[in-house]
């Protein structure tokens, strides 16, 4: 069941996005860039979700007279479910990003900086 590996180019893209996102998160000290990094990781995930639904020989998952979903006992239709998953994931990613940005704004107001290294409290 590893048909989806046939989409290696998309998979590589998805992995690259995740890697880039993590790299940004790990190397940038600015909060906004970190948020962008997280967003890129999200995008990578979304791309991954879409990728696993499909492989080059698949057909649309709707039964019509000409569209045979099963060929030689194998299902060749694309999987419709991940598309609903990716919608959810996108929405959640959006919500998280919005909240993160709101917090970032507040942090800038209260701390006067966006450098993550400086956002900590001394023990009192």
């Amino acid at each position: 069941m590893i048909d989806f590996l046939q989409n290696w180019i998309y998979l590589t893209g998805a992995m690259a996005l995740v890697g880039i996102g993590l790299y940004i998160v790990l190397t940038n000290t600015n909060i906004l860039r970190i948020i962008v990094g997280l967003n890129i990781v999200d995008s990578g995930t979304n791309l991954f979700i879409v990728t696993i639904a499909w492989h080059p020989k698949s057909v649309m998952p709707i039964y019509t007279a000409t569209n045979n979903l099963v060929v030689d006992g194998h299902v060749v239709a694309a999987d419709p479910l991940p598309q609903s998953l990716v919608l959810t994931a996108i929405v959640i990613g959006l919500g998280t990003t919005a909240l993160a940005l709101a917090i970032a704004v507040k942090i800038y107001q209260k701390y006067g900086t966006l450098d993550v290294r400086k956002i900590k409290e001394e023990d009192k």
């Binding site: 998160v25 790990l26 970190i34 290294r117 900590k120």
Partner: protein, 621 residues
Amino acid sequence: MSSLLALLLVPVTGSIVAAIIQRYRLAERLVSFSTFVVTLLFLIDIRVGDAFTWSLGFLGKNIEMGLQITPLSIFMLYMTIAFGVLLTFFDLTERSKMKSFLLLLTLAASNWIFMATDFLSFFFAWELMGWASILAIFGGRRTAESRHGALYYAMMSIGGSYSMLIGIFLLSNLTGSFSIQQNVSYLVSIMTVHPWWVLGIVSMFFVAFMVKSGIFPFHTWVPYTYGESPDGFVPYLSSVMSKYGIYGFLIFLPLTLSLRNVPGVLGLPWPNYTLVWFGSITAVVGSVLAFMQDDVKKLFAYSSFSNLGFILAAIALFTPIGLTAGLFHAFNHLLFNGAIFITVVAVISKVGITRMSEMGGLWQKMPLTFLTFFVGIASAAGIPPFAGFGSKWMIFQAMISHGLIFATVLLFFASIASFLYLMRAFHAIFLGQLSHKYDNVKEISAIGKITEVFLIGALIFFGIFPGFILDPINSIVGSFGLKPLPTSGYEYINGFFSSVNMVSIFIVVIVAFIFGFLLFAVSAKHKKVPQEDNYTAGQIPKDWNLTPEMYQFSYDFYEPMDKEIAPFLKIKIDGFFKGFGDSVEYLGSSIKEIFTGNVQIYTYLAIGGLVIFVIAGWIVW
């Protein structure tokens, strides 16, 4: 059967009541006293062989739990509860910050410990006793130090409990049961096949017992804790609570009976031999360290575990005379240590300090307390005809009958050393020069006086009629399958080498005293002079500015001995535990640095962890 439950429920009820009314000090103390009395009344109804069982649906199975009265447990119960009655009676007028409800909770736990037939309830009660006593120790005279003492005790005690917990489960996994009896007989059955297993499991238990009794090398907490706990609680701590460990040892010592035919050291199986040495070393360490103490509570803390060393050495022999001697000494220790600590508490409550070198001459102000203390230390030193002689004498006989000459000499040295530090305390507190700042010190209240008179009476009575204690001890010895010592009347102590008729000794001493006082009366008259009237022919030049304190020699009473016992002091067990604690703390402060507060570090950690796992998965793949 229901009175067995009463032994648990009465103290718990009393504890709850005392906790509720703890703002009203006298009422709280009265509740505590009456709870002890009621418990004692219930105890009178209880006979050997009474049992009560129930089962607890827990851990997915029904665990049989039970209470049972053995000769040993009824002996221990009487000791603890009767002593508690005395102590709480004395405490009615005592003003330390001790919380009575914790004492009562400890009582419930201790009753349970002595009656438990399964390890589950034994451990439950043991832990209950542990934390109740830890909390009771908070609240000493000096807050920071008492906190330190309580924490030290807590660490050792909880460490010991966990060790015991491991032992319990190692055992119950082998036998599938929590019953003490089944587990012990299982150990007996595998004793010859797997001696090292048995040793390992039993030593897990022994750590807990050694901690509780303050046996070397786990003795280090004792002075800190006794020295700093509330004055009203110290007598209970040192007289009663240290005996729990002894009770624990006695659960497992019958194992060694099956080793009697295996060659050991001097006819003793090697576990017994080792424990005898632990006991002897404890006795010596306690005595020697007590030399150096200036704090009276600490001094008697050392004295306390030194005596526990005597007891352990004796019971570890597990011969009829050894067991008898050990249990007898346990009883005597309860009495004289109680007398000593109660008088010490009385003195501290009057003078308000614990440093002995700042006391002195108090016999003029507190004569009855002085006498009680005198009888107490005479008993502790093992002087006939007071209680304490018989047991020490039997311990020596028990030891020497096995040819344990080094250990016996060590014990005798500990005994002589105890005479030294007792004299020192006696001198520094009660004798010597009375400082003017104590001119207004009064003798303690009537309740305290009654307690003290009772203690004097008990020390003399049980000194003359040891048979009243030796009889129950003989039945304990019999219940362990050993042959009890012969008995020949209440006034006899029958040892291995010789027996003593305490009444005749008492009569001889009394007659000699009558003669002495007659001689005192018929010889020439004397004249009473004040304490300043000495040394300088009655003249004290004003410009010397002499004060009584300057005439008091008690600060470093045995200073010349310092050099001789310096090698002993170099062995810093205490330092080991402290250093261990320090390094744990250092480790903690290093590990804490992981959590820097920088989210990128956390992300690195998380990603790093993930990568490590993936690599690990890859390798396994």
